[in-house]
Subunit: 220 residues, 2 copies
DNA sequence: TGTCAACAGATTGTCGACAATCTTGCGCCT
DNA sequence: AGGCGCAAGATTGTCGACAATCTGTTGACA
């Protein structure tokens, strides 16, 4: 009754959204606080919204479920998971360890002569963003720093998990208004420490960075 | 041409396997080394094997992909991920942090008066298994210990991730023959330390436990 | 009026069919 | 003989349809 031909007319060479893309889109919206915790994710609604069949939506929800941002109850459907402040604090406790490990591993790899141009670029971008004072610019630079560190650390399992945890951290920072831009300088310093190959120091700095966010969140 | 009626005849009150169960089954087989790294997971084959439609299999593969044990390439299908020894070592480096955090958190909760009967039971079971010297018994007890610790730690995100990493650790231990039963005593000690609420000590013991496995793996 | 059962609507679970894409082997041209 | 299309087979991607399950509401009965 709504779409007799979903994607035929003017969509000759469309790149195919596919489940992965939709999941990514939803994750981005989640990070931006688009969805209310507890909100039901009805498959049919999402079908209309993204113009695809239910199977696609289903796979996207499955992925979201694996990321832990959506809960799926049999025959009851999916809904956005509600995260309490205590849980967010616990997640940051975990993040502290993970980010520390990423930085330590990356620093070691740099010492071993790994390519680090991406990291240098990210650091430059961070420094630049601290001068323009544009939140979007800062967030992009921050993402690039994390990506560069993960790339250098080259630990598949760790990267996979960081990717998952990142979503939760973003949600927590948004949900509890614990987002303080202006950490650019601190992050740039972490990057430079990694670049210098000081693994112990890089780990300490990284953990301190996350710990401070956590303590700030705990005080609210 | 193969199954005109997949599950109608004598299957009046079957409990419905569903994707989650199939994914769990495959994970168990993976942990037992049933699949060869790189092996292709053709959907149609799995359909025949489990007697369900492709959608179910697809969702199961999706979940396996989220667990990081299966890679899915668009239009190319899914295959079992190959894990090198270095990657297994890196995963154990990560596990060291995670297990340490679980034990520390659990110990704190016990101090705060959390119910710990399940933990006591698991410890008893471990001690019993060390006397019978039955590998299956030991593994079951070990799993129960981890489950009890996770339950007490009560950190949703951490538990979710531990669950994912556990599969990799099991695969690594199986794949590299690094499986040494007889750690029952050591694990029981960790459990008792948690039970006593000594969080720092519990974390140290847990990390030492994983570290030793990692070092053993590195020496091969 | 309160409780419970049955019904209608909404939503999820699963399947079969067809389209799109990749792979492979064969034949043709140089 | 060697390389290059091209067709046939294999496999994945997506959709629509129907079955199963849940939920809320209405109405009958005590």
């Amino acid at each position: 009754m709504l779409s007799p031909s979903p994607n035929t007319d003017f969509v000759v060479s469309r790149t195919k959204p596919a489940a992965a893309d939709i999941a990514r889109t939803i994750v981005e919206e989640l990070e931006a606080g688009e969805f209310v915790p507890g909100q039901r994710m009805v498959e049919a609604d999402l079908c209309l919204r993204f113009g695809v069949g239910r199977q696609i939506i289903r796979e996207a929800l499955q992925r979201l479920n694996a990321y832990g941002v959506v809960a799926i109850e049999p025959n009851r459907g999916a809904h956005i998971i509600h995260v309490t402040r205590d849980e967010a604090v616990m997640t940051l406790e975990l993040t502290e360890l993970l980010f520390g490990l990423v930085s330590r591993s990356a620093a070691r790899r740099v010492s071993a002569g790994c390519d680090s141009t991406r990291l240098s670029d990210a650091i430059s971008e961070l420094v630049a963003s601290s001068e323009t004072d544009d939140p979007a610019h800062y967030m992009r630079a921050r993402r690039h720093l994390f990506a560069a560190l993960s790339l250098i650390a080259d630990n598949p399992e760790l990267n996979r998990i960081m990717e998952q945890v990142r979503v939760h951290v973003m949600r927590a920072q948004f949900g509890f208004a614990a987002f303080r831009s202006g950490h650019a300088q601190e992050l740039a310093e972490i990057g430079q420490t990694v670049l210098a190959g000081k693994s112990e120091e890089a780990e300490d700095l990284s953990r301190a960075y996350v710990r401070r966010i956590r303590e700030f969140l705990q005080q609210i």
